[in-house]
């Protein structure tokens, strides 16, 4: 395998690993909350909902910031 294709593979692998870790981290958090609620025999609390919404708002802001950064070059 040439050096260029090795770099391509490593770059793709790095992007894939990052995306994977983001997915896993976010879903892991949600699964933990759901499992805890089930174990305690209750519904998801108001605070847990607020946290979920705040996390999405924060993720939205991060993507907006990344878009602005990329657009600025």
């Amino acid at each position: 395998m040439s050096t260029v294709s090795t770099i391509h593979v490593l770059r793709d692998l790095a992007a894939l690993a990052l995306v994977t870790s983001k997915f896993i981290a976010s879903l892991e958090r949600a699964n933990a909350v759901i499992a805890r609620a089930q174990a305690e025999g209750r519904e998801i609390t108001r605070e847990e909902w607020d946290t979920a919404l705040a996390l999405d708002d924060a993720a939205r802001a991060r993507l907006d910031a990344e878009i602005a950064k990329a657009a600025a070059g």
Partner: protein, 205 residues
């Protein structure tokens, strides 16, 4: 004399018995856990039988193989393709592994998936794997999904969102009328969300 009818040296992934064996072994438990197919009790013994059947098909493919796998749906098998094949099923499996059962829990999980989609888009944009325009489209679609999830939550007693629900329903040309239940809005949003996830996973590969 040159042999004119010589067969190609390799075969496609989808022609591999080992591949389909793995698909069978993995699909049963996923269908059971994620989709909760009505009437399809894959718990316990039945679940084990499905996994064993898949393993046997894989084993059969292994012992009887004559050709190496050299392509996937016609795309040549490169090192990158191998990595994607290795990692993507793990992602899908992980994404499917949620304890969420009720509509409220599924809704909560969907909000987390939305965070994952936005974060993935930000990561892919910073890695140069998607363009600014593509990232903007992801953001817009994610906003529409958020609207649907908020609408679903409002049906469960949450606050009424001020978003434009028509933007979400516009994705579905054959939709007779907007949903009236939390599960309906959740399903509608999830369909857009899954499509977004799929697109990002493909970009990630």
């Amino acid at each position: 004399m040159e042999n004119q009818t010589e067969e190609p040296e390799g075969k496609d992934l989808f022609a591999s018995r080992r591949f389909w064996g793995v698909v069978v072994a993995v699909l049963g438990p996923i269908l059971n856990q994620y989709f909760g197919i009505a009437g399809a009790d894959l718990e316990g013994l039945t679940n084990t039988i499905v996994v064993l059947a898949g393993a046997l098909i894989s084993l059969w493919g292994y012992v009887s193989r004559r050709k190496r796998i050299t392509s996937v749906a016609g795309v040549p098998m490169t090192q990158t393709t191998k990595l994607v094949i290795l990692v993507l099923p793990l992602l899908v499996l992980y994404g499917c592994a949620t304890p969420a059962k009720t509509t409220e829990e599924r809704l909560y999980y969907a909000y987390a998936s939305l965070v994952a989609v936005r974060d993935s888009a930000a990561t892919l944009l910073s890695a140069g794997r998607i363009s600014v325009d593509e990232a903007k489209k992801v953001q817009a679609k994610a906003d529409d999904v958020r609207c649907g999830l908020d609408l679903a939550r409002s049906q469960l007693g949450g606050p009424a969102p001020a978003c434009d629900r028509a933007r979400l329903t516009a994705y579905f040309k054959d939709l007779a009328q907007p949903p009236t239940t939390a599960a309906g809005w959740l399903d509608l949003s999830s369909r857009v969300l899954f499509d977004l996830e799929r697109q990002l996973r493909e970009k990630g590969g």
